[in-house]
Symmetry: C2
Subunit: 656 residues, 2 copies
């Protein structure tokens, strides 16, 4: 929806005007109508379409169809559809008539030069209604919405560069530098008349002077090397050189993700100015604007199909078990070797794997946590690469707590893209929270609005210590698993009633350190343990109700997984390996081996978990993580990480 321009004609001299191909020009004749005029006629040379719009109610008609009564309500509209070859090579003539005179009273002539300028880009994303006529200056969410999308060019196409592609001004490859969002600027042969300028304006909310868009310019037939970096970083506007007769094409890349001070919307303008009169200031002929939304970073819940599993390669048994599970699930395994992990085993905590998506391209993006253990360099040095992007947020005041490890950053399954789950404290409490810059970043993505859960009662303080999601063939397509002291006591009480009170936990644990076994009877007579687990249950129940409300879940969507916690310095840690802290690879679950009481030759905790999950078609593999992970307050989930398939649902089809 480009803006019309008004041109006023006079009887004394011919008027000259520039028009833009496809854009309507209003011709105002009422400033100089000869005395006695009753009617007028209008015609244009070939290539010039002239219409009359008789009134607001009636549609337009072709002007050459007939004579028109002079009436200020009539609008004369001129359109040309292809660029001129020479200056003033087309024209429109208006003749003024009286019923008393056979010949016209006077003529007015308007010479026209047509140029072709347009900001073309894909406004109709897949899955949305295809519309030929939308306002490029708007960005509208939802299936009936529209608007252009930019990807943050946060991958690294050139292995020899140190920086990501959005941090430099190199042109690595056209495919990489955003989508070919074409700005066609096909001009005329002889043109000393005007300038074209294009520049992106930040919308309100973006800090002054900071651009979130960069741009390279070239001609369609050029190779990658011939394109030049013309906008971005400190280059806030660009004056297109005098035309040389060819189409110019802009490729546009996003530079930064939506954040607290950036809504994600960026305007991009092209303006045609007349600077032919040296005495006056420039005057505008045409401007076109397109608004881009920078695609959000999207997380993938554990219910999405896995593509690649990451594990730290320091414990052969554990790595072998994970490798076997990955093989069964049919996904790639990537082992981070010891010289790179430097004995930091918490690969779940170091990073979160998500993706960005536009109609023309989708690629995974790793969000590097501000945690910065010994695995610190792994995401940047090993994961970032061609078509694998990178983003991070670190607080300036280094106010990072254990809650900023990304075991404390999960996402629920759909409606429609799930909700981000982070752990924090209670409103008003002075306890730990995820650092502000990470919360701001997560909120600003908008398509998976975060839910803050209560985890400050936990020593480590991660949401993956008490919840997980698994796929299910029925209901909402998934179940939420919650750690449940209540379910564990109930199970143990039943076993005690059936005479298995002496069955022992922790039997068979292999490790350097001696682990004392504990009987069911001992557990059920430990008043402190019982009292503390009632407190833990009340904390998990608090989160249960938050999750039911925020995710729209009912009790039927939740499975209680038996689990006990113990107290360490007023905070909770898992008493036996934390069953919900599992690796979910499609239907294959890698569950921490609980070393529960052996009854009739089988671990009653494993048996209970199987009885709860196998009816959903899930396969349970219990992995011994006792010494390498559990003893250090983590489990299988903490020691692994997974890249998953993106959602089939397109984010632009939701209304956040």
């Amino acid at each position: 929806m480009s803006m019309k321009r008004i041109v006023r004609v006079s009887l004394e001299h011919p008027t000259s005007a520039v028009c833009v191909a496809g854009v309507e020009t209003l011709v105002d004749i009422y400033g100089s109508v000869p005395e006695g005029t009753e009617m007028f006629e209008v015609y244009g040379t070939p290539g010039v379409d002239v219409y009359i719009s008789p009134s607001v109610e009636r549609g337009r008609e072709r002007a050459d169809a007939r004579r028109w009564h002079v009436d200020t309500g009539l609008e004369i509209i001129v359109v040309m559809n292809s660029p001129s070859n020479d200056l003033n090579d087309s024209h429109v003539q208006i003749s003024y008539h009286s019923s008393h005179e056979p010949l016209p009273l006077a003529y007015a002539v308007l010479y026209l030069t047509c140029v072709d300028i347009a900001l073309d880009c894909d406004l109709n994303c897949e899955g949305r209604q295809n519309r030929s006529f939308v306002d490029k200056r708007q960005w509208v969410w939802g299936p009936s919405g529209y608007g252009a999308i930019l990807l943050v060019n946060c991958d690294k196409d050139d292995a020899n560069c140190y920086d990501q592609d959005n941090c430099d001004q190199h042109v690595h490859c056209l495919q990489g530098e955003g989508e070919p969002r074409v700005t066609a600027l096909p001009p005329r042969r002889d043109s000393r008349l005007w300038q074209v300028r294009s520049f992106p304006t930040p919308k309100a909310g973006l800090p002054a002077g900071r651009l979130s868009l960069a741009c390279i310019l070239g001609r369609p037939e050029d190779s990658c090397e011939a394109y030049r970096h013309v906008l971005g970083q400190n280059k806030v506007s660009y004056e297109v050189p005098r035309f040389h007769g060819d189409e110019e094409r802009f490729f546009v890349e996003g530079l930064s993700f939506p954040d607290a001070s950036f809504t994600g919307l960026v305007s991009f303008h092209v303006t045609l100015l007349d600077d032919s009169n040296e005495d006056f200031s420039e005057s505008p002929i045409f401007t076109d604007t397109v608004v881009f939304r920078v695609a959000p970073w999207i997380m993938t819940p554990s219910t999405l199909p896995p593509l690649e599993v990451y594990v730290v390669g320091n414990n052969t048994c554990f790595v072998d078990a994970v490798a076997e599970l990955a093989r069964k699930a049919g996904c790639k395994l990537t082992i981070c070797p010891q010289n790179e992990n430097r004995n930091d085993r918490w690969i779940q905590d170091e990073m979160e794997l998500g993706y960005v998506e536009a109609p023309h391209k989708t690629f995974p993006v790793v969000f590097d946590s501000p945690r910065n253990g010994e695995l610190q360099d792994f995401p940047y040095k090993r994961i970032l690469g061609p078509d694998f992007g990178y983003v991070t947020r670190e607080p300036q005041d280094s106010s990072v707590s254990g809650l900023d490890s990304f075991g404390n950053l999960e996402v629920s399954p759909p409606y429609p893209l799930g909700r981000i789950l982070i752990g924090g404290n209670l409103p008003g409490s002075s306890g730990r929270r995820v650092t502000q810059v990470v919360r701001d970043f997560l909120h600003a993505q908008r398509v998976q609005p975060p839910v803050e859960l209560f985890v400050d009662w936990l020593a480590v303080g991660h949401v993956d210590e008490f919840l997980s999601f698994v796929p299910a063939p029925d209901g909402k397509g998934f179940r939420m698993l919650l750690a449940s002291p209540g379910a564990c006591f109930k199970l143990f009480q039943e076993k005690q009633k059936w005479g298995h009170g002496r069955a022992l936990l922790f039997k068979g644990v292999v490790g350097d350190k001696q682990i004392n076994t504990v009987s069911i009877n001992q557990v059920l007579s430990n008043a402190n343990l019982i009292s503390y687990n009632k407190f833990v249950q009340s904390c998990i129940d608090w989160n249960r109700e938050v999750l039911k409300r925020e995710l729209g879940l009912t009790e039927q969507d939740i499975i209680d997984i038996p689990q006990l916690f113990k107290i360490e310095r007023r905070k909770a840690v898992a008493f036996f390996p934390d069953l919900v802290n599992m690796l979910v690879l499609g239907k294959h679950l890698g569950i921490p081996k609980p070393f529960g009481p052996i009854i009739n030759g089988r671990c009653c905790l494993e048996e209970k978990v199987r009885s709860l999950l196998e009816p959903l078609g899930l396969h349970c593999t219990f992995i011994d993580d006792f010494t390498p992970y559990h003893m250090l307050h983590g489990e299988v989930h903490c020691g692994t990480n997974v890249r998953r398939q993106p959602f089939s649902f397109k984010w632009w089809n939701m209304v956040p």
Copy 2:
């Protein structure tokens, strides 16, 4: 919509729980059902309502109606509606039955203590659907929306204070400190069990640590002095002291307007914590949240009824003329005396008068421009006061241009609250723009989204140099007036044709400086003037099309007012007093006296303007501003300012 809480009962010991009046508690009995149980019964002591929710499909029933089959799908819901007098003074008893035994197999008892905590505030603004059940955590725009509203307490109730009320921690008057948005916290007599904490959390977008809400606390019967400032500025949370048996009431005030880094939404929480066990961390019992939206600053278009006219009192004739017009329009006149204005006559440029509105209160707010001429202190020292607020935005880098004077800040008439009009340059041009902090502030108010017009071709560069709005009895209820060189040439050509070519402009101008008269013939033979005014016309036409598109106007909504401009250092200034730069007081217009050509004893420009405006029922008064204003590149509008009635339309009923 407060969150349910789960309480688990056991057979071994009675359970104690705290519940909040009116909030449902789920009682989970399935953790310990005696063997052989087929049915159960539940009853509560008086004041305890117990319901059973048999399934998702069926509604709830009163529990005491009958026995219930044990079925994990059943939910037991307990509600108390008034606070307890003593700890554990109510209870619920569950009895477990088998068909084989006449007596119950076992009992479970749940002791209850009810407290009354609620964040009450007006969520249903005037004009919106009244809803008894809305989610206080949401803020929804539009006539079917809901949500609480905060006013920025930016007036100054105490004349002895230097600061505005939102900058200090004094309690000036309860009516002033926001609305009595009651947080009732009526507690029990004996309570050593819990704490209440309340604190506002900034939503994403607010800089960390900066609060946009302050709060004072007291009891309803207390006088103003007994209230204490408990939240705001550096006080981010507040722990309510142990209950003393009375209701506590929070009054909440807004501290800052929406801006680039603040969406205007603020969350306010109250949390009840159980800290009765010293060994464990605190556990949550109840939390309630309300989201406030800070009311935006709203501008009033010239079509709204005037209440008060401001003028600088240095030129008696001009002041007398304005006073007479104000008298006719029935509005107050305030004269800024010379010792306060120090010869700065541009009171339009120094400030813009708008208002803020909530259902409980509306008051005017002056927006002080960053211009800072000699009138600089006037808004803060003379306008700010009880129920008259103040806001300003100044760039840190003092990058203020002439465009930051508020003659360059206007607002159009409705749909529904009009749109803010500011002048700037063309996209991509390096010319002048309104300073970023002012643009950010205006955009962030959201209800009058700004339109940026092209004014950089003007020497002064204010939108009021070429446009104005007047009320009209038909059409959209108003007309837009645009300065028109084309209309002026047409008028002069007609007059020339009728033999008045020698009629003189500028005849009768009184002043120290000699003004040369100019004839119509001289004007129409001045090729430079004609050529320059064609350029001016193209610039105004550009804005005409922007305004038609952005405000949804047609040609029928626009009146062309004859006007010529001349060139001074490549920029435009009015050739004769600028007719559209008028003071609009209802139907009374104070128009700069143009000193146009006198024909048959009457100024033909005045006559033309009358013929265009009087049919709309408007009364034209031409005020001589030639020497005191026009000669200095301003006119009547620049020398006056008006406080107007707020819109009758409530801003929360729109969807921005």
